[in-house]
């Protein structure tokens, strides 16, 4: 499983756009990039997944450059309720062994009023 590196923490203000970048230099050809969000005292929940270029849903956008060695989760106009830990996960869609399902340390985003 490709190792991922994310900033430990980020601060933002309400209404701003937040971009969280994840580095995954040894991403494999079959790997997808998935982001999860975890609120305090809750389990993580799926936000978005992509393979290349750009993916957008009602919650966020995911930008993946051509070399796929990094990805950026973009949250438009954040609110206080977006304060959470965001995890980047890189791996194949099918889990074959333990190494296919390892989360990184995550980025703790704090949105201030």
């Amino acid at each position: 499983l490709a190792k991922t590196t994310q900033p430990i923490s980020m601060d933002s203000y309400e209404g701003q756009e937040v971009n969280i970048t994840c580095s995954h230099n040894n991403i494999a050809t079959n790997d997808y990039i998935t982001w999860y969000q975890q609120f305090p005292s809750q389990g993580p929940r799926f936000i978005i997944q992509g393979y290349k270029t750009k993916v957008t849903n009602e919650v966020a956008s995911l930008f993946i450059p051509a070399d796929r060695k990094s990805s950026t989760l973009s949250l438009p106009r954040v609110s206080l309720s977006d304060t959470a830990v965001y995890y980047c996960l890189v791996g194949t869609r099918r889990v074959y062994n333990n190494n296919d399902m390892r989360f990184g340390a995550g980025t703790r985003l704090t949105v201030k009023p």
Binding site: G43, P44, Y96, N98, F103
Partner: protein, 115 residues
Amino acid sequence: GAGVSQSPSNKVTEKGKDVELRCDPISGHTALYWYRQRLGQGLEFLIYFQGNSAPDKSGLPSDRFSAERTGESVSTLTIQRTQQEDSAVYLCASSLAGQKNNEQFFGPGTRLTVL
């Protein structure tokens, strides 16, 4: 519909006691995962089931930990002779194998406190 449920939600036990944690996955989800999350830390993968089989148990922290799954449904994580370092939130997740994005659906977790 019903999501992943876990029981108990909280468990306080004394050092040396055995505990059993339960996970009820979403109906029809063939894949099931257990994670451990210590206070303020990230997710630590423990074990994964495809159906009732766990192909790789090397993620379990020690031989005091064991897990089983029956009927491609309920799973139990058992910790024998608990130690204070076992204190954490234990999260269970399930996914529909073959689903386009293999999205994992997490339960609320069991908070284990070992005194």
